[in-house]
């Protein structure tokens, strides 16, 4: 369940460059969509979203471990947008995220614009992580833990966490939007 960029020829890239495509729309109707948010991503918006989801989850999910894993994936996904999302002319980091429940588990999907140079690096990191077994992910996580804050570590700790918590059920996609930006989307099942 991915997010897609609006059709080619849409020049209004800075503001709401992506729309809910048909696939997502039907999921929204037929499956259990818990939250859909489209807008600016900063720590100020992320924290209230997390609170809302947490409240929701207490009521819906019995297992504490599952609640915590979903919460962790949400934090890492949303904070990645808030940290690395491309800033538009209005000083905003525009992005979109949704969370819902499908037969396979809970899913978290997110999409945002990023600079093309960043897209390449990110794509490489994600592809590398996708090849690792749980044991290797854990080893990589521990190795990265000891690196001081601010180091350019291999894969971000957050990304490794996302792979671990979802048992690597992660799909990602990059679509070039123009010469400067790409649209990056990620879909995670927990």
């Amino acid at each position: 369940m991915r997010m897609k960029v609006k059709q080619e020829g849409d020049t209004n890239v800075e503001f709401a460059p992506f729309s809910v495509d048909k696939e997502i729309h039907s999921q929204f109707i037929h499956q259990n969509m818990l939250m859909l948010y489209k807008g600016n991503f900063s720590q100020n918006t992320v924290v209230p979203l997390l609170h809302m989801m947490e409240e929701n989850m207490h009521g819906m999910i019995d297992e504490l471990v599952l609640q915590k894993k979903i919460f962790n994936v949400l934090v890492e996904v949303l904070q990645n947008i808030s940290k690395h999302g491309h800033i538009n002319d209005r000083e905003q980091k525009f992005g979109m995220f949704m969370i819902g429940k499908a037969d396979a588990g809970y899913f978290v999907s997110a999409g945002n614009l990023i600079k093309n140079e960043h897209a390449e690096k990110l794509s490489a990191k994600l592809s590398a992580l996708a090849k690792l077994e749980v044991g290797e992910l854990n080893a990589l996580y521990k190795k990265s833990l000891r690196k001081p804050h601010g180091t350019k570590s291999g894969a971000g700790l957050g990304l490794i966490d996302i792979y671990r918590d979802s048992n690597s059920r992660v799909e990602f996609d990059f679509s070039k939007v123009n010469e400067q930006q790409s649209f990056y989307s990620i879909a995670i099942t927990i």
Partner: protein
């Protein structure tokens, strides 16, 4: 040394580093976007502390959630505390987790495995 005490907020934990009363604690939840902004002050405080630590230091950690940015900063703090083991003074970390919270228990074990100081994981 003046104590460092930070009240908990929506996205940062309660933090207490108090040499005079020999109390060191971090509790609550930690999810600042850039955790160094929060933990930096603690790193600095600890760098001074380790040179003249109390005879017996126990850092009690009672977190119910921490994000990846926090994880790295917490480990960095513990790496500073490791220096106490070289001085003849005693340092110990007590990691608390609530019953049923296998996630925090597991994360405690993980952090325990990457640092080299006495580290006890206890259920409360």
């Amino acid at each position: 040394m003046k104590k460092l005490e930070l009240a908990n907020t929506e996205d940062t934990p309660y933090l207490l580093l108090d040499k005079d009363n020999n109390k060191f604690e971090i509790s609550g939840r930690s999810l600042p976007e850039d955790a160094f902004g929060f933990y930096g002050a603690a790193h600095e405080w600890l760098e001074s502390y380790v040179d003249d630590a109390n005879a017996n230091t126990e850092l009690v950690m009672n977190l119910d959630y921490f994000n990846s940015s926090s994880a790295r900063n917490i480990v960095e703090m513990l790496l500073i505390l490791e220096k106490i083991t070289e001085t003849g003074n005693v340092i110990k970390v007590t990691w608390l987790y609530k019953e049923d919270d296998d996630v925090m228990k597991g994360r405690g074990e993980e952090i325990q495995s990457v640092v080299e100081l006495p580290f006890e994981i206890k259920m409360i």
